[in-house]
Each structure stands twice: as C-alpha cells, then as structure tokens.
C-alpha cells in the first residue's frame, strides 16, 4: 500500500515538472516566485530556534529600540527581539493554520462524502446545518467559535477549523454527486462492490486534486483568520509569539513612532499570503492548460 502511494507521489512529481516546463514563461515566473516566498517562510518557521539570536520570550532592557546590529529588526515594548518573535511566530502561525486545515479537511470532506453519496435524509440534515454555517464569513464564524471556546492555541485551531468546514463540505459534496454519475461507478457496482469499496477506491481518489486546489485557497484564508483572531485579542494570547497577536501590540506603539513592531509581522503575513496565492494561481494554470502554444 505504501509502495503504491510512493509510486503515485513520484508520478505526481514527474507530471508536475513536465507541466511546469510546458507552461508559459510568465506562468513559470509566477510559480517560481510564489514557491520561493512560501518555502522561505516555511524554512524560517521550521528553523526558528536556529536562526533566532534570542528567545522570543526573553525580556530585555532595550525597550522599543529601532533596528540595530544587535537587534536586526528592533525590539518591542517589552524589550523582546522582534526578529526572534517573528521567526517563532511563523512557526506557531503556520502550525495552527495547518492544524485548522486538517480539521476542516477531514471533517468537511468526510461529511461531504457521506452527504453526496448517500443522499436522502442524511444529506438534507447535514446540508441544512452546513448552509447555516456557510452564511457567515469565515472570520466571523471563527470569532464566534473562539468566543465560545475561549482563547488559546488549541481553541484557535479548532475555531478556524470549524469555520472552514463548510467550504470543504460543499465542494466535496458536489464532486461526489458528479462522480457518482460517471460510468465506471456503475461498472464497479455491477461487479458487486459495496459502498465502502466504492468510496475509498473510486470516489475519494477522484476528489483529491480538487481538494488540493481548494486547500491551497483555504490555507491563505486560515492563516489570515488565525492572525485576525490574534489581532482581535481572541486567538493566541501573549506571551506566545504569533503574527496577529504581535501586530496587535505593535499597533499600540505605532503612535509613539515605533514602526518596526507592527511592520514586520504584517509584512510576513502579506508575503506568505502573496506567495501562496501566486503559487496556487500558477499551479492551477499549469494543470488546466491543454495544448500549449510556444
């Protein structure tokens, strides 16, 4: 089983590289830039402990010091090194966003599959609840859940996760409905396959690429939501470093003339989301192209 997955991944890698080479020059630039930005930031988060000169929690004497050689991005109002905070904040923000996406993907796609495949009463019940959730913008929903659950890292992941479930639900459900109509589904039924086999072997694998595309859009949404909650003071709390939470305290000292505690977290959010968007736009364009023109 795992050997098959490995082989499948290799095939995907080869296919992706081939599509990349086939796509237009402008698109290649798009994908490359996006990829560089995203990877750079992920590395920053992954190796946060190695690159940070200080601990993000270490209070210092030098409060609100502008960028110097000692503190390359300055210090915040508690004397903490902004660069170290950003590096660790990256790790936390990305991990929380990733957990949120995992929650929403599994639950949303799971419910969507059950709804689409079995239809009938189950579909109506689940569908109505989802429709209710779907009417709210993601950030509002995350806010509401967050208020109910309280602040903190885990709760933020859950809140944002729940807020993203409806989009996965909708997409999976309509995908399952259309895949159900495909000829090979009827053919598999004719050889005697049961529902479980059908879902695992045929329906879900055909959803994967669309779900991957959806995920690329939702990751940006998740990151912004986590940061947004932090900014509102509802999500991840001090002293844990997090882009949004740090943006919040940064804003408070902006009037005093300190631009660096807010600029850099904000910049990172912007760059990450930009990178994700460029990458997903580029990758989507790569895979949609049929016969290319040189």
């Amino acid at each position: 089983m795992s050997k098959e997955i490995f082989k499948a991944l290799l095939r995907i890698k080869d296919k992706t590289i081939k599509k990349f080479k086939q796509s237009a020059m402008s698109n290649q630039v798009l994908v490359s830039v996006g990829l560089i930005l995203v990877i750079a930031i992920i590395f920053l988060g992954a190796f946060a402990s190695f690159v940070s000169p200080y601990s993000p929690l270490e209070l210092g004497e030098d409060k609100l010091s502008p960028p110097t050689t000692v503190h390359p991005l300055g210090t915040d109002n508690l004397g903490r090194d902004v660069f170290s905070r950003i590096a660790h904040g990256t790790k936390i923000s990305l991990l929380v966003a990733a957990s949120a996406i995992s929650v929403s993907l599994v639950l949303g796609a799971g419910l969507g599959t059950v709804s689409g495949y079995f239809g009938g009463f189950i579909d109506r019940v689940i569908g109505l609840s989802m429709d209710a959730l779907f009417t709210f913008p993601v950030i509002i929903l995350a806010l509401a859940v967050s208020v109910m659950l309280g602040p903190g890292v885990t709760n933020t992941a859950i809140a944002v996760g729940i807020a993203l479930i409806p989009s996965y639900y909708r997409v999976t459900r309509s995908l399952v409905l259309s895949i159900k109509e495909r000829g090979f589904i009827e053919g598999t039924k004719a050889i005697g396959a049961g529902d479980f086999h059908m879902i695992i072997r045929h329906i879900l694998p055909n959803c994967l690429s669309s779900l991957a595309v959806l995920t690329s859009f939702n990751i940006a949404e998740a990151i912004i939501s986590v940061a947004g909650l932090g900014f509102l003071g509802l999500g991840i709390q001090q002293p844990t470093p997090e882009w949004g939470a740090d943006l919040k305290i940064g804003r408070e000292v902006l009037a005093a003339g300190a631009w660096w505690p807010s600029l850099f977290p904000g910049l990172l959010i912007f760059v990450m989301v930009l990178g994700i968007n460029l990458l997903s736009e580029g990758v989507n364009a790569m895979f949609k192209v049929g016969i290319t023109r040189r």
Binding site: E186, G187, A190, G192, G194
Partner: protein
Amino acid sequence: MTEGSIMSVRGLKKWFPVRKGIARLLSRRQEYVRAVDGISFDVKKEEVFGLVGESGCGKTTTGRLITRLIEPTDGKVYFESQDLLSLKKAELKKIRRKVQMIFQDPYEYLSPRMTIFDIINEPLVVHKITKSKVEEEKLVAEALESVNLDPNEKMYKRPHELSGGERQRVAIARSLILRPTFVVADEPVSMLDVSVRSGILNLMLDLKENYNLTYIFVTHDISVSRYMCDRMAVMYLGQIVEEGPTEDIINKSLHPYTQALIAVVPTIDTTEKRYIKAIKGQVPNPINPPPGCRFHPRCPNTMEICRKEEPKFIEVKSGHYAACHQYK
C-alpha cells in the same frame, strides 16, 4: 421457470416518477415515465437473446433491471430458479459473480486513474478470490489473453493509452474474470469505430463458445442483432411487440413496427437502389402512451379495435410471438 431456460422475466415494470414543476405541484396526480411497462420473456441456456428497439423503448433500462443496477417497480426475474429481485445484499453479491454486464461506453466505463491490471483485478479484490499478488497477476494475464490482448504490453497501461476497441476488450475481460454464466451486453459496439466492431462481435461469439455463456444483447442496430442473436425481442415504448427466432423476425416479421424497422435500415446493396422508406410520426411521450395499441397512431394498418384495446402477446407461429390485433 420454463424448461431449458436459464432466465425468466415476468411482468417486469419500471416507472420513473416525474419531477414536478411549480405548475404541476398544483395537480395532485403523480405522473410516471413508463420506461418498462410489463415485459415477459425467457432466455435459453447458451443462446444469444436480442433486445432491439429505438432509443427510449426501454431496452437499456431492462438490462439494468435484470442486473439490479436499478430496482424494478414490479415484476419478477428468475435466474437459475432463484428469484433475483428478492435477494438480500450478501446473496446479491454472490449472484453478481454469475450475472455480469458489458456497458456501451468504453471511455466512461474504465476508471481513468487505474491501470489495466487494477481494473481487471478489481472484481477479484471485491470478491476476495485471490490470496497473493502472483495469483492475481496470473488470472489477469489469462483474462487479457482471452480477449486477444498481450498482457506484457498492456497490463500496466492506463485506459487513455488504449484505443476504443482495446478498451472494450478490457471491459469484457473484466466482466468475464469472475467466470459468469450470464452476460447482459448493452450496446457493446455502438460507440466503436465501424472496422473495430466486427472484432469485438466475433470475440464475444468466441467467448460464448469457450466459456458456455448466455447473452442478452441489447442494441438499436438490427443488423448487428441479426449477426449476433439466435432469438430476438423487439421493444416499443416499454413493451415487447414481437419475439421469435432471428431469421423469422427479419424475413417474416409479423408486427408492423418490426416491418417498418427493417424497411428503414439503409443497406450497401446498391443493385437494389431502394428509396428510404420512412415511418411517419414520432415516438409518443412515455408518460402518456396512446390508448389501446401503443403503436396505432403510426401504424399503416390501424383498425378500430387498435384504438381501444391493447393487443395480447400471443404465439402466432411456433416460437414466434407478436402483440397485434391482426393476429388472433
């Protein structure tokens, strides 16, 4: 069950409820599309039995009812003395090893993401027949050879790398790997190129001999039906209007609809430059079939009784049945 028959169908019906538009919500009567409206026939062991008719006559639906891909509204289907329609899930799964189906569209029927090996192997997996990869490969290779495809070449290709004819062969291999005794073939060559059709048709005939198969062959093409079938039933608007040995139906047809169908088929024989004879009118709406004999609005020989009473399906000559008031 009749003597010598492997399958008996009695009074099979499938009525599809019509979805109501807003205007129709006001009327309380539920309307139905009478796709299959009470058909009965027997299929003898190891014969090829044809179901012929225009699109919309119910022949494809009949095929799916027999294999229980859709559930009938009424009627009975007996296979080897078992009542197919009353089987529960587990028993139905066992029966699927004996009753298989070949579909029309070789492009849609094969999952594009699977290799040929996976596709043909899947029935073995579903029914947990093999115990090792080696055994699976052996059976799949045999299946490919039986449909004249080279396993070494094709085993690990994907459907899009194969031609239409090759794909249909793969579909046939997949249907036969469980060693069924009864196969419903739904327009198996209609979507294939003309020069490829004969290969598939001949293959199906050879497989029938080698594996002692019984076929129900569903098609709109009466020439193909003549080539393949021992006996045929002609369907119109959900009912069987004529049934009998193939040569009788072609050369001595009884029902006016069958006669029209045969007359309208274009042929290559240019020594007889026949002008295309057309039959008037359209197939009526299956929601509200005409009263009496359903064919009467288009029939050249309509009598008074045809408008009022539905004709009975009777044996006009030995083994040759028709539902028409001309015959008593």
